[in-house]
């Protein structure tokens, strides 16, 4: 198992309703999430805004500390592991962020952005690996000398992917990585992400609000609604025979590019 997650709970302080004295009340974002993620799975995590899908992702990478429950990564309990102990493991679980404009330091060149994490983990042949990573995401090697603001949205997102895969991680979390892209860039990114997963034997968790995208890429799907898992199923089963009411509602709300879909 790559991940075993049991009864995960996470809340944020609600500063808007903080009393004068004492702690702010907490808003529960994750209300007891449990699931297993076997190695080699491409897991889709789907839900509307406020469903807690991004929070779940960040908790899996221990960018957030859960209130209760447990997270086991490849057999190791990382629920309460401190940052120093985590640091040694961090190479093994990586993340691709939603907004590459914010997640790529604007003052570093592409080459440095990809090489930086590898140097931190004392990997060898860093320059060769940077070139390899750029090749894998289909960017010319000359792009290593560019700054993020000199790239298009799709190219930036590929730099984010190259940075993650260059570390040869066991697991990658992709948080809404195509939602800001045009359909043509989106198709490109989805296609080669699919290839990478196959070629490298990656385990991937793919967070998205778009079920059409999830179906393209994922083998298994979690449907999140207001901090709870309402349905967990293999992809084909979820789309052919959705069990939860919310899944059915979600499916029926998707506008397909097809004038014959009964919809409005």
């Amino acid at each position: 198992m790559m991940y075993e997650i049991r009864d995960l709970r996470l809340s944020f302080p609600d500063l808007a309703h903080k009393p004068l004295l004492g702690a702010a009340p907490r808003v529960e974002v994750l209300k007891g999430i449990s699931f297993d993620l076997p190695k080699g799975t491409v897991l889709g995590i789907v839900g509307g805004s406020g469903s807690g899908k991004s929070t779940l992702g960040r908790a899996m990478l221990r960018l957030l500390k859960p209130d209760a429950g447990s997270i086991r990564f490849d057999g190791t309990d990382i629920t309460h592991m401190d940052e120093d102990a985590l640091r040694g493991m961090r190479r093994r679980f990586q993340m691709i962020f939603q907004d590459p404009m914010s997640s790529l330091n604007p003052r570093r060149r592409v080459g440095g952005l990809i090489a930086g994490p590898m140097r931190l983990h004392r990997m060898d042949n860093v320059d060769a690996r940077v070139k390899e990573a750029l090749d894998m995401v289909g960017l010319p090697q000359s792009f290593a000398a560019r700054y993020p603001h000199e790239l298009s949205g799709g190219q930036r997102q590929r730099v984010g992917i190259a940075r993650a895969i260059a570390l040869r991680p066991d697991f990658i979390l992709a948080d809404e990585i195509v939602s800001g892209l045009d359909v043509s860039s989106q198709a490109q990114v989805l296609n080669f992400l699919g290839e990478l997963v196959r070629d490298l034997g990656l385990t991937l968790a793919f967070i998205s609000h778009d079920l059409s995208v999830i179906r393209r890429l994922c083998t298994r799907v979690l449907v999140l609604h207001q901090g709870e898992i309402v349905e967990e199923a293999d992809t084909a089963q979820l789309f052919d025979a959705p069990r939860a009411d919310y899944t059915r509602e979600l499916l029926s709300a998707i506008p397909l590019p097809d004038p014959h879909q009964r919809w409005v």
Partner: protein, 290 residues
Amino acid sequence: MSAYLSIRNLTVRLKNGPVILRSVSLEVAAGQVHGLVGESGAGKSMIGKTLLGTLPRAMEITAGEIWLDGTELLSQSPADRRRRIGATAALIPQDPLTALNPSKRIGPQITRRLVDILGWTAADADARARELLDEVQIPQISRVMRSYPHELSGGMRQRILIASAFAAEPKLIIADEPTTALDVTVQKQILRLIRNMQHRHGTALLFVTHDLGVVSKICDTLSVLYAGKVVEEARMQRFFMRPIHPYSQALLAATPSYLDPEGSLMPVPANVIDAVEEEVRFHDIRAGTR
């Protein structure tokens, strides 16, 4: 069928810079929904902006005509144009979170303009606002009209904006990506609402979007834009069954559908892009803008 809105050879460019719209022509018939589709940077929002007179100052209209209900707009003075647009057209904007003035209550935001610009009495405007809020299925109308925008959900605000757009019975409504910021379940309700309202009021609707799925649900006709140029204009049914232009075909092939998991999700191929770029270049040479 007579065209209510007719744009002819509209060319817009950045002052001393690249061309944004290349001889765009399109027509919207009364009571019809026309979709403007394109990827980011294709110029689809610019058409609405030109029409409404809210084009950024760095841009200029270098050629073209806009006929609205039998009157040509671009030959009029900006003030006349503004008055004419204000009286006959309305906008449903993209982001419901920023489209209502945060420091004003909802009621006046709908009624003020009826009183100020169109000369209604306050009582008439108030009655009209209530009627429309009821039509867009807003509960507790009196309370909502006294609220500030931040007290309402995104879906509610978008309904209010729709009500506000229909308030003065405009003949033309421009909807600029009105559901992009919403969850799919809310999007469905809002699209349904816009379609129903448009149908009932017989309004011509220019619907700007990047989402071919949405287009297939709401539009009667559509134009596909690439780099400020209309590459295909079609009736909706025909477009989805037999897209003619290679770029349209590529765009459709790149749009994912959960019903078709095995079908090839094709990025727009490089040779299609090259061909369209060539068309654009050819157009510019012919028009003398390059």
